[in-house]
Symmetry: C2
Subunit: 187 residues, 2 copies
């Protein structure tokens, strides 16, 4: 499958080398024939990204097994998210940095995957803070997870220069713990 070659190329050579021609070469075909399986390069990247999101989702689901306490589950999700980003930096960045040109045409499936992910967080928050109304829960899920995402991206791109070991993990722990503590203190 062409997708496999694309992913290998991406991890081995980086995003700039993920070209239609290189993918074709790697599977022993000619450049033009790739356009029978992908609409264009955007489409190729999009399919790689869907795969990446599916893998991430599977790992997140996996990490929830066995954890009972909602706060522990949220911490586990945060750690897992960060760990995935650190394990697959190139693929993970591609998900968020790739711009589709004809917006909202193609990425409907992608948006659903991202939404589903926020709902995972929202469900845990609803559980631990049952007094929050649905709007507040949505908001909390988005700002908390936006936060974890930001730490992950700054860490991966080397913009943090933090001290200690596993510095980004400490930041995620800090953000989740402090935010949840703030949630408990009513407004």
């Amino acid at each position: 499958m062409a997708l496999g070659a694309a992913i290998a190329l991406l991890e081995e050579e980086g995003p700039d080398r993920l070209t239609t021609r290189a993918v074709a070469r790697r599977i022993g075909y000619t450049a033009g024939s790739l356009y029978f399986v992908f609409r264009n390069r955007d489409d190729l990247v999009l399919r790689v990204n869907e795969r990446t999101l599916d893998e991430l989702r599977a790992e997140l689901d996996g990490v929830l097994d066995g954890q009972k306490d909602s706060d522990a589950r949220l911490h586990a999700l945060g750690r897992c998210y960060l760990a995935f980003a650190e394990r697959h930096p190139t693929r993970w960045r591609l998900v968020f940095e790739h711009d589709v040109l004809d917006v909202d045409q193609v990425p409907e499936a992608m948006r659903r995957k991202i939404d589903a992910f926020f709902q995972l967080i929202a469900a845990e928050i609803a559980r631990r803070s049952p007094s929050l109304d649905p709007d507040a829960i949505r908001r909390a899920a988005q700002s908390l997870w936006g936060g974890v995402h930001g730490i992950a991206i700054l860490s991966i791109t080397g913009k943090l220069r933090a001290g200690g070991e596993r510095p980004a993990e400490a930041l995620v722990e800090d953000l989740v713990a402090t935010y949840l503590r703030g949630l408990d203190r009513a407004r």
Copy 2:
């Protein structure tokens, strides 16, 4: 100046069209001559990014004038950061998405600018929570600002799909307020 042309090109046509050839064309020179002023395309992007960070910094400094309360200052910084990102999405993204190939060779000036920015946050946190030790302050500045950054990037790339108007601003307010509240509740 070539830099001006590069920035105009970037805002008008997007990051993919920011090519050495297009910049040269726009200022009436030939492609090769650009290499007398920039080392290569990476260097060109780096210089654009430095300029962007300088502008952002100036706006952040400006927003602090007049605000006395540290919490209000942190909120103002968050809103200003987000507003800048929304006003210059392409340039702002380029700062964080551009990868220099020969790492830590070139971007020393860039790193200092980013560090200086975290220190701006850390100073406000130190002021409002004087009982925190220096490590905790650094950590708080990084996780809180990583968080604001994450919301900004998800918002700009259309991955939030939040309700209400100025949705990202509401998230930044929520994150900052809740995090600071969490900071006040000792561990």
